[in-house]
Amino acid sequence: MADKATLPLLTAVPKTEGGSPWLTKLRRTAVENAERTGLPGVRTEAWKFTNLNALKALEPVAATGTAEIARLPAFADLQAVELHLSNGTLTHADAMPEGVDLVGLAEPDDAPDWVSETLGTVAETAPHPFTAINTGAFTGGIALRIRKGAAVETPILLLVDTRSLEGAGTVAAHPRILVVVEDGAMADLVEVHTGGGAYVNNAVTELVIGKDARLGHYKLQAESGEAFHIAMTAARCAANSTYDNFALSTGATLSRNEIRATLAGRHIEYRINGGYLACGDQHMDTATFIDHAEPDCASHELYKGVLADRAHGVFQGKILVRPDAQKTDGYQMNRALLLSREAEINSKPELEIYADDVKCSHGATVGELEDDQLFYLMARGIPEERARAILVSAYVDEAVDHIQREPIRDAFRAAAAEWMQKNIAGAPAEGGL
């Protein structure tokens, strides 16, 4: 049952009158959708395993003020151009590389056509209340365009930080990110979400990937331990494009990372991998949806979860193969490692297939570390605690290894290692053996 009493999360409703017609319409529809559906309850199938009562109990105010954002140590060495979104506001932007256009979304009324024509066309608001709230309430964000044929070598590093400033109490930010990769263009985008104290970060990332284009899109969710992180990534890919997506979640008390992609052309290669590392009382929900709308596309998905203490992990992955999408090659795997008696995992990998000439498989495993692997290491003189940490580390690396760009892969590996050192006894200092 939807709970309508919780729309306080809709912290700011900038003018739904008087602005540019496209934006007014977009916002008004979004607010209507948000109000109609309300926030989802556990009887909503897509949110079955995630109880939002704690979030609903909040009465957040719009995040105001801005703060300096520093890189996390894991990303210190990454060569990149930087963008900062503090409480939803663009506070810093390095000079963009050749072929890249940047537009701030604080005053999107005057945005160029490529923004007004794409914003809100991929991330649907009707079925997704949080996306609707973001669309209605975003007060800032960025739009990036990678121009036709541009090959951008330097990764674009987007640091998103949310925190309560000036004694504002619990705040909510709704950062909006739009990336348009034009035909034949290539780029890498890294999102890092951090913050301080208790807050809600309700982010939406919309991606339009053109023909023959390639986008690497990597996200680290390292919010503060009291934060709520609700994120929607929605991508539409055109023919012959490659979309390499990776998401690692380590932060927030409750997080939901939803990634939806429509493969709307032939011969698309979609890679969607990631990991969720949770301890304490963290609740981490990963939801992925892959829409094979056209023939001859391949999707590969591997998610690995590590759940310690009383952590609760949720994985819901769905692959839809539409009637015309013949020769689809779809693979999905979710593995979860439970490290404690109090940890819990709910996993729902789902296939919905309407084409016959397809190769689709999925799998899911849940369990603890293998005894014989432990034995192997211990027989070589490695103490048990250390042996366990090595195995967990190797387990996580298997997912991280799927990141296609090496410097970015190294950064994520370091981020995972950092989490290990903090939370797993005996973890090696540098992430390696």
């Binding site: 008696r341 995992i345 789902e350 296939l351 297939i353 000439d357 190769k359």
Partner: protein, 485 residues
């Protein structure tokens, strides 16, 4: 490729194939008036000469049912069912107590004859299979009763059990599937008309396989079977359920409930072959099959095994489940579901691991052809105390033709780190390579497809008791005509 076209064509031929078991037997019916209210329930209860407690139980269920909503989460679509437009009681005309088959209405026996599963043949077939034949709602013939009695096995209709073993029925009825468990089970609890009751005493290995053939007859009659099987400590029973139904134009509702209870070291093997009328090419007239089947492994080292071959019905909504309460108990689910034309099947299982070192295996094979939709929906849940629980799940789907759908919806929930759960699912079609391989060795396309489909289902078919395996193969043959040699 020509071969593919051939395959599709063959499957389409099936479409045009008339349902082999479609005929109607005219026998006088003793009916309750159409519709459902307390009067109907009192009528059924009175007809069955039931004790007061059971009537109360039914009425309570009815009250709860009225508060419930028909579930809509399954991936099946059908026009709304008008529960007031159905008959809830129909029995062949009475019926003195029968001592042998000779006393059974000859027309009834002829019906079975036409189905190719005559009781006589069963009788001869081994002296092994006891048939509690259910014609519509009331058991009319029970064979081998004496032999079973010698071992202390009770095998009778549930109505009879209410009279002869009221304590057992009262103790176990609704103990696995509570009256208000779900919409259809609740309806069944209110209006169930008959079904089987089996009780295997301590330490007894049931000397023969028990079998009930169901047959839906009489237009507009919902079938509300209630089956209860109790296996005492150290006992074993294998129960066979098979169904065929005559062709009808109006949908027939079937909402059965099956409850199994296995105590320490007991084992129950429950096998089903279901071939009810699937409807015409557009699914018109087929059976709606909403079934709640659940087994409770209450005892230590107990085991419950479900095997099903589902080829019929316009709509199948069925999730035979195991509640693994006892330490070291075992649950198994083997399923072949074939859907063709406009058939829709949403079927699977639930394995609820509560006891230590409980194990479960799920093997599901879905075959979808025509415009059919075939969904596996399953839950594996491991509770906090289920140390060392183990599950293996394999769901394979085979698509024949490009108009059908195959879906897999597994839920995996674990609260115990020492539990090991594995799920894998694949979707594929009959590959050109496989067909070419067979055909290059001289097999016709038809035989090749048959061979491949057989191979695809083999893991499940081998779990069927021998008596059933033959029939099951026949039914697959009917469902995918020409595919099975």
């Amino acid at each position: 490729m020509a071969a593919t076209v051939d395959t599709v064509r063959q499957v389409e031929e099936v479409t045009g194939r008339a349902y082999k078991h479609g005929f109607v037997t005219d026998i006088d019916m003793d009916m309750a008036p159409k519709g459902l209210d307390e009067t109907t329930i009192r009528f059924i209860s009175a007809k069955k000469e039931e004790p007061e407690w059971l009537l109360e139980w039914r009425l309570k269920a009815f009250q709860q049912w009225q508060q419930m909503k028909e579930p809509n989460w399954a991936k099946v679509g059908y026009p709304p069912i008008d529960y007031q437009d159905l008959y809830y009681y129909a029995a062949p005309t009475q019926k003195p107590q029968l001592n042998s088959l000779d006393e059974v209405d000859p027309e009834l026996l002829a019906t079975y004859e036409k189905l190719g599963i005559p009781l006589k043949e069963q009788e001869i077939l081994a002296g092994v299979v006891a048939v509690d034949a259910v014609f519509d709602s009331v058991s009319v013939a029970t064979t081998y009763k004496k032999e079973l009695e010698k071992h202390g096995v009770v095998f009778c209709s549930i109505s009879e059990a209410v009279r002869t073993h009221p304590d057992l029925v009262k103790r176990y009825l609704g103990s696995v599937v509570p009256a208000a468990d779900n919409y259809f089970a609740c309806l069944n609890s209110a209006v169930f008309t008959d079904g089987s009751f089996v009780y295997i005493p301590k330490g007894v290995r049931c000397p023969m396989e028990l079998s009930t053939y169901f047959r839906i007859n009489a237009q507009n009659t919902g079938q509300f079977e209630r089956t209860l099987i109790v296996a005492e400590e150290g006992s074993y029973v294998s129960y066979l359920e098979g169904c065929t139904a005559p062709q009808r134009d109006e949908n027939q509702l079937h909402a059965a409930v099956v409850e199994l209870v296995a105590l320490d070291d007991a084992e129950i093997k429950y096998s089903t072959v279901q071939n009810w009328y699937p409807g015409d090419e557009d699914g018109k007239g087929g059976i709606y099959n909403f079934v709640t089947k659940r087994g409770a492994c209450r005892g230590k080292r107990s085991k419950i095994s479900w095997t099903q071959v589902e080829t019929g019905s316009a709509i199948t909504w069925k999730y035979p489940s195991c509640i693994l309460q006892g330490d070291d108990s075992v649950g198994e689910f083997y399923s072949v579901a074939i859907t063709n034309n406009a058939q829709q099947a949403d079927t699977g299982t639930k394995m609820i691991h509560l006891g230590k070192n409980t194990r479960s295996t799920i093997i599901s094979k879905g075959i979808s052809a025509g415009r059919a939709d075939n969904t596996y929906r399953g839950l594996v849940r491991v509770g906090k105390r289920a140390d060392g629980a183990r599950n293996f799940t394999q769901c394979d789907s085979l698509l024949i033709g490009d108009k059908c759908g195959a879906h897999t919806v597994p839920y995996i929930e674990s609260k115990n780190p020492s539990a090991r759960i594995e799920h894998e699912a694949t979707t594929s079609k009959i590959s050109e390579d496989q067909l070419f391989y067979c055909m290059s060795r001289g097999l016709s396309t038809e035989d090749s497809v048959g061979l491949i489909v057989n191979g695809f289902c083999k893991e499940v078919m081998k779990e069927l008791p021998m008596e059933f395996a033959v029939e099951a193969q026949k039914l697959i043959g009917i469902s995918l005509e020409g595919s099975v040699g």
